[in-house]
């Protein structure tokens, strides 16, 4: 009998006696007898911690992680960036890990100030004045951005570039079944979103574009802004925070809302979660902001202090009229990101982005030189690009795994073949390949060689 319950039998007895009860069962007398579970839950008996750890060792043995097992060339929304020990050591301090949402600010200045710092960093990255305390992931930030813009414009029609991550688009589509927003995907041609001059029909409230897009291509944000202006719509940019270390800030190029996936900022690949939804917007929209916002103030003694603010937007106060239903968010990842970005600093972040670009271009050169394989688009790219393979993408990846590489992401695994982002029919043979600053020249050389063989 292993558990975390302190009560000794004698204590349970004493407590029951205090309550005038003769058994634990009586605590549940209010539960109608007919509903009571007979025979207990259909679960095994409890194990001890070391037994359970052994079970997890065997789960782990049936996975192929990056690192000592596979050298990672996969990206497509989740990246193998350096996370130093110092960030892990600080972000796992139990005061951050085992606290709840900072409802009692007097004893939550640690988390509150860290979020304030996080907000500042995200806002500066985005080039916008306000950022919130995080949302679930990139997809949920996108959805909230659309909701915000629809609310602000009163228009439910949304133009979504096919360059936005296919999963994010899928989530937006799912949640639109509740809100009733109309999503229209605008296709890519040669890696760039092809905005139609004047789409027919209802007035458009929101235009969404990704920078870089999910195939790694850099988009022309000025064109997206101009398009949104023509339509009288607000512009949402789904921006990668690492690329943001060297690319112009979307806010400066006219984005009204910037969203992003913050996994790259200190969080492990984690099989996809918990990740970190980034969200920044213009000052005008702050009362529509979803989720928590930390503000600076003073206490009764005049000492600087932090507190969640503009709470009247939130569900616990505003209920059905709230800007969003989010309550629990991804605070620990936000704190982690604040630590990681402080570790990187301005030059470190720029250096990481630059090294990604150098690595990706070096790989492209090698693939071209050794195997005449070129990116499928001529668009400029930073950290990743798509290539076509003769063998089916899944076969290629399986062969590469045998050689010790996570060789990229099959486009078809993420997006249906015809989602507008690729040439028709190409997706079953397309792999998106990413190179981060952690990849050495030797790894890239070995990968380029292996890739040529595997791709045939």
């Amino acid at each position: 009998m292993a558990d975390y319950l302190p009560h000794t039998d004698a204590e349970v007895e004493a407590m029951l006696e205090f309550l005038g009860l003769s058994g634990l069962d009586e605590l549940f007398e209010v539960v109608p007898a007919a509903l009571r579970l007979a025979g207990g839950l259909d679960l095994d008996e409890g194990l001890t911690e070391p037994d359970v750890a052994a079970e997890f060792e065997s789960f782990a043995a049936r996975n192929r992680p990056v690192g000592r097992d596979l050298v990672c060339f996969a990206g497509a929304g989740a990246y193998d960036h350096e996370v130093p020990a110092v960030v892990r050591a600080l972000a796992t301090r139990s005061e951050f890990v085992t606290a709840y949402t900072p409802y009692q600010a007097e004893v939550a200045q640690g988390v509150l100030q860290a979020i304030f710092e996080f907000q500042t960093m995200v806002a500066r990255l985005a080039g916008l004045p306000v950022a919130n305390a995080s949302l679930y992931d990139g997809a949920s930030s996108l959805v909230e951005a659309i909701n915000l813009c629809v609310g602000a414009t009163g228009r439910q029609r949304v133009l979504l570039s096919a360059g936005v991550h296919p999963h994010w688009r899928a989530v937006a589509q799912t949640l639109a079944s509740g809100t009733g927003h109309e999503l229209e995907v605008v296709p890519l041609i040669d890696g760039a979103t092809q905005w139609l001059r004047a789409p027919r029909g209802e007035p458009v409230g929101v235009v969404v574009v990704a920078q870089p897009n999910w195939l790694g291509c850099l988009e022309d944000l000025a064109a997206a802004r101009a398009h949104a202006d023509t339509l009288g719509a607000l512009l949402v940019v789904a921006a990668d925070p690492i690329a943001g270390g060297v690319l112009r800030a979307p806010g400066e190029l006219g984005a009204d809302v910037v969203v992003g996936e913050g996994q790259s900022l200190g969080t492990k690949l984690s099989f996809g979660g918990p990740y970190l939804g980034l969200f920044a917007c213009s000052r005008d929209q702050v009362r529509r902001l979803p989720g928590r916002l930390v503000g600076e103030t003073v206490d009764v003694a005049g000492t600087r202090a932090y507190v969640t603010t503009l709470r009247a937007r939130e569900q616990d106060i505003r209920r059905e009229k709230a800007t969003s239903n989010v309550c629990t968010n991804q605070t620990l990842m936000a704190v982690t990101a604040a630590i990681q970005l402080s570790w990187l600093g301005p030059n470190g972040l720029a250096e990481v982005a630059t090294r990604c670009a150098q690595g990706a271009h070096y790989l492209a050169e090698q693939l071209a030189a050794l195997h005449s394989i070129a990116p499928v688009t001529s668009a400029p790219y930073l950290r990743e690009f798509a290539v076509e393979t003769t063998a089916p993408a899944e076969t290629v990846l399986a062969r590469l795994a045998d050689e010790g590489f996570l060789g990229g992401v099959a486009a078809s695994a993420l997006a249906p073949g015809d989602d507008g982002s690729l040439a028709p029919g190409a997706s079953g043979h397309t792999i998106v390949v990413a190179v981060t600053e952690r990849r050495t020249r030797a790894e890239i050389d070995a990968f380029a060689t292996a890739f040529g063989k595997a791709a045939r």
């Binding site: 004493a14 409890g46 782990a60 606290a99 600010a105 200045q109 989530v171 509740g178 503000g295």
Partner: protein, 506 residues
């Protein structure tokens, strides 16, 4: 906008007692902490790889600090933060139980944590197997048929559940417009209903603190898509007439949604499925002890009865005939609700928790949680009566209304005084239906001694309120900061370093 030249000193006063400068204030131009791998990749200048029109002129104005100052800063911030590991956190509705350290290590195993989410399924059989086991366990605990693990928190689970409701009715060719919610419900419920495209109809509580079944009946018609309940409800009371409620809702073709925030009370005692619920979300970060992280991450899987299973989000992990695992889209899936597969590491921790506890352990969890709450309820009866004077489940909503009337000391003051006494405060002013509510959830991992100490402190506070009410209004005094000017925070919004008045900077 960038760091104050010269920066501030890193060494701030001791043990969390004094204000800590922001990391930007510690920043000095040219300082840095980052160390990157030496790769040997040719260092082609970026301008040769990308057109200058794409590139920013100045790097992002992030802090520039040494690793030493980085460590000092965030370590000191951690000393200004209460946590479960430091003491009791009787925050009602939040189930702040002890988070076992063993699961931190499990969630950090390289074979678990370093797996890319787009790794092909044949290379992630361990993860898929674990998620399938967890789905089965959640179904066993809730009495449901199938579950999605994608929702990242309770509220995301709610919205997923409402979209399932919508898909179900649509598949039956129905367009229903309303969802019923008791007035004691958590704010996420109505907010989710709106996002689900439904209208909220509020059902009052009766004198017992339970759903007013007559009012419920009166609200029911064929426009009602369903009802959202938590049982025990947010007053910590078991909805004894749940079978009648279920029958009535089902009768008009509505569905019952179970908000799992309070599931801790009934683990192994009674299952939502057996009460008649069709859709259940679980808050793994409450019930199954995954740490809250200062506000997240969580995980809010949604389990459903058989007739709703085909609508679940996907792709979902599935076991194949030959005992392998793959991703499959449920036939009439509403689609994806997460960028990837949900908050996977949180799911892993929950599975570990479930394996350690098992059938026997989970039942003990519920028993001890309910025992602790009732002990506090009875013990505190004279100073803080329960809002509804009947046996409670895992939490009890006390009221300071009488205290306020006689001394002017409000629930908020009691909460702040409790901070001085070394405890986190209960949830206050929720549920909204109780005047001067103090919602206390001790959880099962607190010992009788700790309960007694909490009760002593609360009684001391009540006595003190009579003797010196001002002291309570002044509380807390021994915390890292004292009561905040919240109005100023909203009036003069300073949400980033760049919003600050020039005089306040540096």
């Amino acid at each position: 906008m960038s760091a104050a030249p010269g920066g501030r000193a890193s060494s701030a006063p001791l043990l969390g007692r004094d204000a800590e400068p922001t990391v930007f204030e510690l920043s000095v131009t040219g300082r840095s902490a980052a160390q990157l791998r030496t790769t040997g990749v040719p260092a082609t200048p970026l301008e040769r790889l990308l057109d200058a029109s794409y590139l920013r002129r100045e790097p992002v104005a992030l802090p520039e600090v040494s690793e030493r100052d980085l460590v000092g800063h965030f370590t000191r911030l951690s000393h200004r933060q209460f946590s479960v590991d430091l003491g009791m956190y009787p925050l009602g509705s939040c189930t702040m139980k002890y988070n076992p350290k063993a699961f931190d290590e499990i969630a950090a195993m390289p074979g678990i944590a370093d797996v890319h989410p787009a790794t092909p399924a044949p290379l992630t059989q361990g993860w898929l197997a674990m998620l399938c086991e967890l789905e089965r366990e959640l179904c066993a605990v809730t009495g449901m048929h199938a579950a999605t693990l994608q929702p990242a928190a309770g509220a995301a689970g709610e919205l997923t559940g409402l979209l399932l409701m919508r898909a179900f009715h649509a598949a039956n060719g129905e367009t229903r417009t309303k969802v019923l919610i008791p007035d004691s419900a958590h704010g996420t419920n109505p907010a989710s209903v709106t996002l689900g495209g439904y209208e909220v109809v509020t059902i009052p509580s009766d004198a017992r603190g339970l759903v007013d079944v007559d009012a419920l009946r009166a609200a029911l018609d064929r426009d009602v898509a369903g009802i959202m309940l938590t049982n025990p409800n947010t007053l910590g009371l078991f909805e004894e007439e749940i079978d009648r409620i279920a029958a009535a809702v089902h009768e008009v073709g509505g569905l019952l949604y179970y908000d799992g925030a309070n599931l801790n009370a009934i683990l192994g005692i009674v299952r939502p499925g057996d009460m008649g619920f069709d859709i259940v979300h679980l808050n793994l970060h409450k019930t199954f002890a995954t740490p809250h992280g200062g506000g997240g991450p969580g995980a809010g899987p949604v389990a459903v009865s058989e007739r709703l299973a085909e609508f679940l989000p996907g792709p979902a992990p599935c076991r194949t005939a030959d005992n392998r695992f793959e991703w499959r889209m449920p036939p009439r899936s509403i689609g994806r609700v997460h960028s990837w597969h949900g908050n996977a590491l949180v799911l892993a921790r929950a599975h570990a928790y479930l394996r350690v506890h098992g059938r026997d352990g989970l039942e003990r969890v519920a028993e001890r949680a309910v025992l602790n709450a009732n002990w506090l309820r009875v013990r505190l009866h004279d100073s803080y009566p329960a809002a509804f004077d009947r046996p409670c489940m895992h939490e009890v909503v006390l009221t300071a209304a009488e205290l306020k009337r006689t001394t002017g000391v409000r629930a908020l003051d009691v909460a702040k005084r409790l901070l001085e006494e070394g405890f986190h405060a209960p949830t206050v002013y929720f549920p909204l239906v109780v005047d001067e509510a103090l919602m206390v959830e001790p959880t099962e991992t607190e010992s009788p001694q700790t309960l007694a100490a909490l009760a002593d402190a609360l009684e001391r506070i009540a006595r003190g309120a009579r003797e010196d009410p001002d002291a309570a209004h002044e509380a807390p005094r021994s915390t890292p900061v004292r009561r905040l000017d919240e109005a100023r925070a909203a009036r003069r919004l300073v949400a980033t370093e760049d919003d600050r008045d020039p005089v306040d900077r540096g």
